[in-house]
């Protein structure tokens, strides 16, 4: 088990590879390149939202409002498009980032300054964001026919067969890797989650780190909102309902500790890919839709149990020979 902890990411990748091989043998169409590209495109939203969620979870927080934020920002961007139809797509992206980020900062302020527990704050804003959608659109929906071509066309652009949403997720991943590994603020996220008291002694500000984490989480959710609405050609109150749980599951499978301070970009991406493969495989394997949710839930639970067991078994390296062995393994 300690081996599993050390090479968690490699093992997760191996499990995914075995899964893909097994499913392809059972249902050959699954193993084709075009299907692989399809899985990546389908999982693109999960990739970036899981990364954003990881940033929040690192601080010992949780953001349950991401799917509601996605839906609200998607709706607002769609309505903006109806008023200003022919702007360049990047304007819509920027707008979605700004709206989503703003909503995230509301979460951040309530958590950082009013000291309300994150689960309570984001559960509340989840309901408020969803409710606001009904208020702003009066209960109707925005359809493909309402969308301009620049707006609706952007997420469907492709490069090497992969959609622009996938490439945006890739950019988010690179930025996240850079931010977490190479900047003071990124290091601070691990610090406040790893040991809040020690972080305070080190002069790291918890409110700042929290505002940052929830702001990023909101911005990514908002951007995903625009891309989602444009890609699927519809914005209404129920889109991405319950998606926050899939996002959190991806993080947990990827080895992000709910206790804070532990998580990597690679692990989270693999966790998201794991879910993406299962969700796409079940229909190919002609599993009844009634069973699909239960099966993917059970698999996720199994992955989480294995992870949790791995976490509980970490032993210290006190014996000199154990230290030498670890040093060898490092080389």
């Amino acid at each position: 088990m300690s081996l599993l902890l050390r090479y968690r990411e490699a093992i997760l990748a191996l499990i995914i590879a075995l899964m893909v091989t097994g499913i392809s043998l059972y249902a050959p169409p699954f193993g084709t390149l075009s299907n692989g590209v399809g899985v990546l495109n389908d999982t693109a939203f999960l990739f970036m939202m899981a990364l954003a969620q990881m940033i929040v979870i690192l601080t010992r927080g949780i953001d349950l409002s991401v799917a509601a934020n996605l839906a609200l920002t998607g709706m607002l961007t769609g309505m903006f498009n109806m008023v200003f139809p022919d702007l360049p797509a990047l304007i819509y992206v920027a707008l979605a980032l700004a709206i989503g980020g703003g909503l995230g900062l509301i979460n951040g302020s309530l958590i950082a300054f009013l000291r309300i527990p994150p689960i309570v704050v984001t559960l509340g804003t989840l309901a408020i964001f969803r409710g606001t959608i009904v208020v702003v659109d009066g209960g109707s929906q925005v359809n493909t026919s309402d969308m301009s071509s620049t707006f609706a066309g952007f997420p469907k652009l492709e490069l090497f067969g992969l959609s622009s949403v996938f490439w945006i997720a890739a950019i988010v991943a690179v930025l996240a890797w850079f931010f977490l590994g190479q900047t003071r603020s990124g290091r601070g996220l691990y610090a406040v989650g790893g040991n809040p008291v020690a972080a305070r002694y080190c002069g790291i500000s918890l409110p700042y780190q929290q505002m940052l984490a929830y702001g990023i989480s909101g911005a990514v959710a908002g951007m995903s909102g625009y891309l989602w609405v444009a890609r699927y050609g519809v914005a209404y109150v129920e889109i991405a309902s319950g998606y926050e749980l899939t996002v959190i599951a991806a993080c947990v499978i990827g080895g992000v500790s709910i206790g804070g301070g532990v998580g990597t970009v690679a692990g989270t991406l693999l966790g998201a890919l794991f879910i993406g493969v299962i969700v796409n495989a079940l229909p190919v394997m002609q599993v009844s839709p009634f069973w699909q949710m239960a099966i993917s839930g059970a698999v996720i639970l199994a992955a989480v149990i294995i992870n949790a067991r791995a976490e509980g078994r970490a032993l210290k390296l006190i014996l000199p020979e154990a230290r030498r062995a670890a040093a060898q393994a490092k080389r």
């Binding site: 691990y190 040991n195 020690a198 301070g261 390296l317 490092k330």
Partner: protein, 516 residues
């Protein structure tokens, strides 16, 4: 009823006795060949410095530690306590320094936690009526239904005493029960102790306050370095006798003090005060100087130092560093000014266990590793190698998670983190607490080295030999205020550089008026 005279002549049957008890931990001899007995209806004061072995005795009697050698005899037979439950069964109950109870539950539930009346189902009626009966026996002024969190510290102590009574304990251990109590509450506690005595129970009373020891106890047992150095009737001794026994040795010989030239003043603290923890803390600190801050646990030393570091806000007072008045609102301000604070609980307040050694060491000095807005891993690695090597951190490699290191190495990493900020002043809060004798000497050497390098060191410690061995000057705090100041090798009488005078000042003895 036999008379006192007779009791002294005929040997009464002890309720509990320890004979030749020893206990060692790797590298530390906590207790060596300790024997004493407790008698019914008597209060026995257990005295000794911090680290003398008092808590080890408490832990052995309450079944938390198993002694390596020796035996405990209670209720007429040799006892082997494998768990606290066995110790209860033998009629021993402890009332702890900081009460360990369930804040959200009621008083009755707290009293009977672990042995609720009833079988498979709790008999609530019985639980409450028995709780009320026990509370009325000690004349408690609160109800069995009251949630524990609504009670004062003193009332919580009463709940613990009631819990001991609910086991019908014949031996009750009180570990510094008065530390957080007001004068009036202490009187109340003493009234209850007198009542417990009258009921024939035997009490172990641990306190640093001599006035309480003399007021309450019938007998005393003194420990030093894990050995019993004396015992007797309280009426036969004086306070100076006990202090001499506790301290026991010429301290200056144990720690060779380095001769370090003392430079100009770097820090001046004037009248630092906050609402409830400390008042009028004024002192100055010079380059190369080691300033000892001594006092009993709970005297407000750590609180004052944390305030100086920006962890809390003073209501009054000023801090001047090299002539510039500082405004310290957060620890980051103190770090920028060149002040480092190594907290007492290094694991909980200093270590980032999931992160690597490198991340831990650079955490408080990240600004120094930024090149073009990004962290420079090579610069971080260089600092880690330098400091990790200097403190001889034993690890497989520098990226290893801190949680995988042994406790001693984790502590070294935490200290390295604070040295990495290149401070001018370093505050060390109980730097040798919980570490073995060998490492202690290494830490002491290291403190000397820091001073030699020109740092100004504030050493907060409850260990008198350490304080007297290392410090150039000692400030003694008592109940949130500076009680006295001592200068190495200077002063006479009550203000003399002597263990007796320092301990007396810390315990609020009569010395403080003369010294102030």
């Amino acid at each position: 009823m036999i008379t006192d005279e007779l009791a002294a002549v005929t040997t009464p049957q002890p309720v509990l006795s320890l004979s030749h008890v020893s206990k060692s931990f790797p590298g530390v001899r906590a207790l060596h060949d300790v024997s004493f007995a407790l008698y019914p209806g008597q209060v026995t004061a257990l005295i000794g410095e911090n680290g003398a072995g008092k808590s080890t005795i408490v832990k052995i009697l309450t079944g938390i530690y198993v002694p390596d050698e020796g035996e405990i005899v209670a209720v007429g037979k040799v006892q082997h306590f494998a768990s606290p439950r066995d110790s209860w069964a033998a009629g021993i109950a402890a009332i702890h320094q900081e009460t360990v109870m369930f804040d959200e539950l009621s008083v009755a539930e707290n009293i009977f936690m672990g042995h609720m009346p009833g079988g498979r189902f709790i008999d609530w009626r019985e639980t409450k009526s028995r709780a009320r009966e026990l509370l009325s026996r000690i004349e408690a002024d609160f109800d069995a239904d009251a949630p524990l969190k609504t009670l004062s510290v003193a009332q919580k102590h009463m709940v613990e005493i009631t819990r001991a009574l609910s086991h019908d304990a014949s031996v009750i251990i009180m570990d510094e029960p008065t530390a957080a109590l007001s004068r009036h509450e202490i009187d109340e506690l003493f009234r209850i102790v007198a009542q417990l005595k009258a009921e024939g129970r035997s009490i172990i009373f641990i306190s640093h306050k001599f006035d309480e020891i003399f007021r309450l106890s019938d007998r005393w047992v003194c420990l030093r370095d894990g050995e019993k150095v004396g015992e007797g009737l309280t009426s036969d001794v004086t306070e100076p006798d006990l202090v001499r026994l506790m301290v026991g040795r010429p301290i200056d010989q144990v720690f060779p003090k380095r001769d370090i030239p003392i430079g100009k003043t770097v820090l001046e603290v004037n009248g630092l005060t906050n609402a409830t923890e400390f008042a009028d803390i004024s002192f100055s600190l010079r380059k190369g100087e080691i300033l000892g801050l001594y006092g009993l646990v709970g005297a407000g030393r750590s609180e004052a130092m944390q305030c100086l570091f920006g962890m809390s806000q003073p209501t009054r007072g000023s801090v001047t560093m090299e002539g510039v008045t500082l405004s310290i609102r957060e620890p980051i301000d103190a770090i920028h000014a060149g002040i480092s604070y190594v907290p007492e609980d290094r694991q909980d307040q200093g270590a980032f266990l999931p992160l690597g050694i490198r991340e831990n060491i650079t955490m408080a000095s990240l600004a120094g590793h930024v090149r073009n807005f990004l962290l420079s891993p090579s610069s971080e690695r260089a600092a880690t190698r330098a400091l990790g090597g200097r403190l001889s951190v034993k690890a497989a490699h520098w990226e290893q998670a801190l949680g995988e290191l042994s406790g001693g190495n984790q502590q070294k990493v935490v200290i390295a983190k604070w040295l990495a900020t290149k401070p001018k002043i370093i505050i060390l809060d109980e730097p040798t607490k919980g570490i073995d004798v060998g490492s202690k000497a290494a830490v002491h050497d290291f403190i000397g080295e820091l001073a030699e390098e020109g740092l100004a060191v504030i050493l907060v410690s409850s260990e008198l030999p350490e304080i007297m061995g290392l410090s150039d000057r000692v400030i003694v705090m008592h109940e949130g205020r500076i009680a006295a100041q001592f200068e190495r090798g200077k002063g006479t009488g009550a203000a003399a550089w002597s263990a007796e005078a320092i301990v007396a000042a810390a315990t609020g003895g009569p010395v403080q008026e003369h010294a102030a």
